[in-house]
Symmetry: C2
Subunit: 269 residues, 2 copies
């Protein structure tokens, strides 16, 4: 496979960077081709602003959606964004690796999403009618490719558990896994998360590295999270509300959008 | 009250900017003192990097938590960050206003959080022992102040409803409301969210503006979201897992961390 790893940590000698190298070495040893977008090393511009749309007239209002649509269709996006779009099209798999800062991505990686995910490429794709509401959530430009997160979290694992005070890690990552990766079509693999990283010693590192290598070896084969496809019949169109009766009785919140074991064809083995 | 509004939209003539002006005018008409941090207009630097820590030696590794701790305690944070810290201490209320991009804040605002929320200021505050796990989630430097979000979302309201495909808006905003605002001590007010903003007409705007003015008039009085206080007895320490039996039987996910109607002293009227 061809694998793009987008990396967001400012320190080349960080734990994150060491884990990145563990992942890339394992992938390359298995015969995969790996490219890394090291956002800090690239001097990536974090925020969307007027400079992203050089074709926009100086007296025109910057409406981000319209500007993105026009720039993508006219191929007037900036070269740094075009290069990332090309890398996403090139890769069979995408890995986003980042430290969890304030329960979300670092700004520089959020800015990679905001800028690279152009209208017509990552959203605003496909027919919008009473039959389907665009190609998104399981369909879209990046359908057929795989994606996963590699996340380092400073807090304890228990704090991110089902009853942990931070909220469950799967819910915290839902806006990324479902809203950023599944949205343009990726099959989203379970994330790799390491905890208590501000107290890591050599032994912790070796354990994390071993688990990470295992995950890299199954990148092609592990079952994706069984998110429901938007246009697969589970949702009313165009309100995009889940039809009644599909979920287990006790389920609520984000888990509504993951197919349950009891449902036919769940794909969760 | 003294109100700080942190604003994140690149276009001065945007819908977001118009709503910001509606909010600030209403607050000022009610006698509140308002300051605005307009991040794009300020040329705010989005990403944490080595330039944030001028006291860090050029041969030292950048460990963000340690660097933040040292810089905050030695008062060597950069001037732009110090100014925002001072504004947060000045304000009785904080409003974060932003368009919802990819189910999260724009990068520039995430970078405001990443950079301004220093160790010793917004986290790493208070005693960590078997009795309490720091002053956070309802306690901390910013306790006693109020905070709320003003959010514009392009999608339909139904898409963000209890069964909407994007996930419920309250869950999507939980990492911000609970993880960024409640964490350093704010009382978090219900968010103001406007939907379908990419199809706004004059009538939509007037309706949104009227609701927003109402919300600004109740900024001092509306009940906060009844998040559970970390050190208030509901959680085991130090695993910070919610004790058994506190939640309604059908509740799961993020809602565990909001006190239920049935609980004594819920504060939810």
């Amino acid at each position: 496979m061809k694998v793009l790893l987008v990396f967001a940590h400012p320190e080349p000698q960080s734990l994150s960077a060491s884990l990145r190298d563990v992942a890339t070495r394992e992938l390359e040893a298995a015969g995969h081709e790996v490219r890394v977008s090291d956002l800090y090393a690239m001097g990536w511009k974090s925020q969307i602003d007027r400079a992203d749309f050089p074709a926009l007239g100086s007296d025109e209002r910057l409406l981000p959606i319209a500007a993105s649509k026009n720039a993508f269709s006219a191929a007037t996006l900036t070269d740094d964004v075009k290069a990332e779009v090309d890398k996403l099209l090139w890769g069979d798999a995408l890995i986003l690796q980042f430290p969890l800062w304030w329960f979300a991505m670092p700004a520089i990686l959020k800015g990679w999403v905001d800028r690279v995910y152009a209208y017509g490429f990552a959203y605003g794709v496909g027919e919008h009618s009473d039959k389907r509401w665009g190609d998104r959530y399981g369909e879209g430009t990046l359908a057929g490719k795989r994606a996963m997160l590699i996340v380092t979290a400073g807090g304890w694992e228990e704090h991110y558990g089902p009853r942990g005070v931070n909220g469950p890690i799967d819910d915290l990552l839902f806006p990324i896994n479902h809203g950023i990766l599944f949205y343009p079509g990726y099959d989203v693999l379970p994330p790799f998360v390491t905890y208590s990283t501000d107290r890591f010693n050599e032994e912790c590192f070796e354990t994390a590295a071993r688990h990470l290598r295992e995950r890299m070896r199954t990148l092609e084969t592990v079952e994706p999270i069984p998110y429901r496809r938007q246009n697969g019949g589970d949702y009313h169109i165009p309100t995009m509300e889940l039809r009644a009766g599909l979920e287990a009785a006790s389920t609520s919140g984000f888990r509504l959008h993951v197919r349950q074991f009891a449902e036919a064809g769940s794909g969760l083995s």
